[in-house]
C-alpha cells in the first residue's frame, strides 16, 4: 500500500527525513509518498508525520504563522503516528521552559533546550534503544534532554540517566537525529509499530 508521509518543512533537515521514511517503508514492502508541509491544508491528508530537526524557535514561529500547529495537534488527536526529532521534539513537548518556543503538548514531557552546551559539545555515539537488537548510531546536535515525563510516557533510551527517546501514544520523540545516517530503524519503530494500529 501507499503511505502519505508529511514532513514539516518550514525549516530544518527535511529531505533527510523524507529519505529515511522511504527507506523504512521499503523495508516493509510499502511505498511512502512524501509531502513537504510548508503551509496549512497538507497535514489532514497525511497518514504519518515527521517533525524534523532544525531550530525550534524558527520552526515554532513558522508553524504558528502558517496555521500548521493546530493541524498537527488534530493529527495526534486522531491517533496517527508522529516522529519528532531534536527541535521537533522540543516543539512537540509539553513544556520547553522557554517562552521563545510555542510547544504543542503532543508528548507529556518537559525538555531542556541545548542541554549539552554549544556545537563543539555535539557528538555521535552508539545508543541502546528499547526494541532494537543492536545499538543505534545516534547523532546529538545542540541536543535537548528530556527532563520529566508523565505517567503514560515510555522511555525508549537514556543518556547519562536522562531520557533521550520516548513514546507517548502515537508520538515517538528523540533528542538525537535518526535521519542523519542511513539506519532507518527509528523511523521503522515510530511508524510501523504504531501504524498497524492507526491505519
Amino acid at each position: 500500500m501507499t503511505l502519505e508521509v508529511g514532513v514539516v518543512a518550514v525549516q530544518g533537515d527535511v529531505s533527510e527525513h523524507g529519505d529515511a521514511a522511504r527507506r523504512a517503508a521499503a523495508n516493509h514492502g510499502e511505498e511512502a509518498v512524501v509531502h513537504e508541509v510548508r503551509s496549512a491544508g497538507v497535514v489532514p491528508d497525511c497518514d504519518l508525520l515527521l517533525l524534523p530537526g532544525g531550530e525550534s524557535t524558527a520552526i515554532s514561529r513558522l508553524l504558528e504563522r502558517e496555521g500548521i500547529d493546530e493541524e498537527i495537534v488534530a493529527h495526534v488527536a486522531a491517533e496517527k503516528p508522529v516522529l519528532a526529532t531534536c527541535a521537533g521534539l522540543i516543539v512537540a513537548s509539553r513544556d520547553a521552559r522557554d517562552e521563545r518556543v510555542e510547544t504543542l503538548g503532543l508528548v507529556d514531557a518537559t525538555v531542556d533546550r541545548n542541554a549539552f552546551g554549544r556545537q563543539v559539545d555535539s557528538f555521535e555515539a552508539p545508543l541502546d534503544v528499547t526494541g532494537l537488537d543492536e545499538p543505534f548510531p545516534a547523532v546529538f546536535i545542540r541536543a535537548p534532554l528530556i527532563d520529566e515525563v508523565g505517567d503514560g510516557v515510555d522511555v525508549l533510551a537514556s543518556w547519562d540517566g536522562k531520557p533521550v527517546a520516548v513514546r507517548d501514544g502515537p508520538v515517538v520523540g528523540t533528542s538525537f537525529h535518526p535521519e542523519l545516517t542511513a539506519d532507518a530503524r527509528i523511523h521503522d519503530l515510530a511508524f510501523f509499530e504504531n501504524a498497524e494500529a492507526a491505519l
Binding site: 518543512a9 518550514v10 525549516q11 530544518g12 533537515d13 527535511v14 529531505s15 533527510e16 510548508r38 503551509s39 530537526g53 532544525g54 531550530e55 524557535t57 524558527a58 514561529r61 513558522l62 504563522r65 502558517e66 531534536c86 527541535a87 522557554d98 521563545r100 533546550r113 541545548n114 554549544r118 556545537q119 563543539v120 559539545d121 555535539s122 557528538f123 555521535e124 555515539a125 552508539p126 545508543l127 541502546d128 534503544v129 528499547t130 545499538p135 547523532v139 546536535i141 545542540r142 533510551a157 537514556s158 543518556w159 547519562d160 537525529h177 542523519l180 545516517t181
Partner: protein
C-alpha cells in the same frame, strides 16, 4: 537492554559538523554586530546569527583592515539568544579561528568580507571541533574548501552591495558545473578535477549525488524577500543576509519578511503579501559600478 557507555562518544566528526549545517536548512542566518540586533534577529525567526564587527556595507564605507570581532561581544550574544551564534574570521587566520572556537561560536565563517591574513592558504579546518562555512564562486573553489574541512558552502556573491546578481551568478555556475559533471564518464570527471584543481574523490561524489556533498547556502547581496526567494528558486538550501536586515528602514519587518519569503518561495501570491509594506530595503550599490579592486569576491581562491 545493555547499558549505553557514555564514554563512547565522538565530537567534531564530519557527520556532526555537516549535521549541524543541515539543521540550518530552509533558514535565514542574519549578520548582527551586537546583542540587541541578535535579539531582533531571533524574534524575526532567524535560525542563527553571524557576529561581526560591522556589517559588510559599513566595512566597505569604512575601509581599512577588517578583522575578527571582539570575542567578548560574542559572549553577550550567546547570553542573549538561544539560536546558534556564528563568527567571522579572516581567510587563513588560524589563531582567530581558535579564539572564536573557544569563545563558543557554533560555526566559524572563514570569510572574504574580512581582510585575508594569508594570500595563499586557507585554514586547515579538519583539525577543529567547530564546523566551518566558506564562500565559493564556482564548483572547484567549493570542493577545495570542503577538502580543507568546510562543513557548509555559501556563494560569495558580492557582500555589502545589496545587489544580488553575483550571488545568482555564483550559484548558477556551481549548479551548471554539477550538471555537466553528471553527464561525464569516469575519465572525463578525472580530467575535470585536474583542470579545476578540485579533489578527485569529491568530484566523483558530487557527480553521483547531483549536488554539493555539504549544505549550500546563498550569501552576498541579498537585500529583500524577493532576493531570498530567488536564491531558493536557484536551489540554495538557505540564506545568509548581511547588511540587508539592519541596513533596511525597518529591520524587524524586513527580517520577518525575508524569513517568510524563504518558506513561501514557490508561492507568488504569498510573496506579494510578504513583500508589501515593509519599508525600504538597504540603498546598496550596483555590482556593475564596482571597480575590480573594490570587489571582495576575489579574496581567496
Amino acid at each position: 537492554m545493555t547499558e549505553t557507555d557514555i564514554e563512547d562518544l565522538k565530537r567534531g566528526t564530519d557527520l556532526v559538523k555537516r549535521g549541524f549545517a543541515r539543521m540550518q536548512k530552509g533558514g535565514v542566518i542574519m549578520d548582527v554586530v551586537n546583542a540587541e540586533q541578535a535579539r531582533i534577529a531571533e524574534d524575526a525567526g532567524a535560525v542563527a546569527v553571524m557576529h561581526l564587527e560591522a556589517v559588510p556595507a559599513d566595512i566597505r564605507k569604512r575601509g581599512g583592515v577588517a578583522r575578527m570581532a571582539d570575542p567578548g561581544t560574542i559572549d553577550e550574544i550567546i547570553e542573549e539568544v538561544s539560536i546558534p551564534v556564528m563568527g567571522k574570521v579572516r581567510i587563513g587566520h588560524r589563531k582567530e579561528a581558535e579564539i572564536m572556537e573557544v569563545a563558543g561560536a557554533d560555526m566559524i565563517d572563514e570569510s572574504e568580507v574580512l581582510t585575508p591574513a594569508d594570500d595563499k592558504y586557507h585554514i586547515d579546518k579538519r583539525d577543529f571541533t567547530a564546523p566551518f562555512v566558506c564562500g565559493a564562486r564556482n564548483l572547484g573553489e567549493a570542493l577545495r574548501r570542503i577538502d580543507e574541512g568546510a562543513a557548509m558552502i555559501r556563494t560569495k556573491g558580492e557582500a555589502g552591495t545589496g545587489d544580488v546578481n553575483q550571488a545568482v551568478h555564483h550559484q548558477r555556475t556551481i549548479k551548471s558545473e554539477i550538471r555537466k559533471l553528471e553527464g561525464m564518464n569516469h575519465e572525463e570527471r578525472v580530467m575535470w578535477a585536474r583542470e579545476h584543481e578540485a579533489p578527485r574523490e569529491l568530484v566523483h561524489e558530487t557527480a553521483e549525488m547531483g549536488r554539493l556533498p555539504v549544505v549550500n547556502f546563498a550569501a552576498g547581496g541579498i537585500a529583500t524577500p524577493a532576493d531570498a526567494a530567488l536564491m531558493m528558486y536557484h536551489e540554495c538550501d538557505g540564506i545568509f543576509v548581511g547588511s540587508g536586515i539592519f541596513g533596511a528602514e525597518d529591520p524587524e519587518k524586513m527580517g520577518r519578511a525575508i524569513v517568510d519569503a524563504v518558506n513561501n518561495h514557490d508561492d507568488p501570491e504569498r510573496l506579494e503579501e510578504i513583500a508589501s509594506n515593509i519599508g525600504a530595503g538597504m540603498k546598496g550599490e550596483a555590482n556593475a559600478d564596482l571597480p575590480e579592486e573594490e570587489q571582495l569576491q576575489g579574496r581567496g581562491n
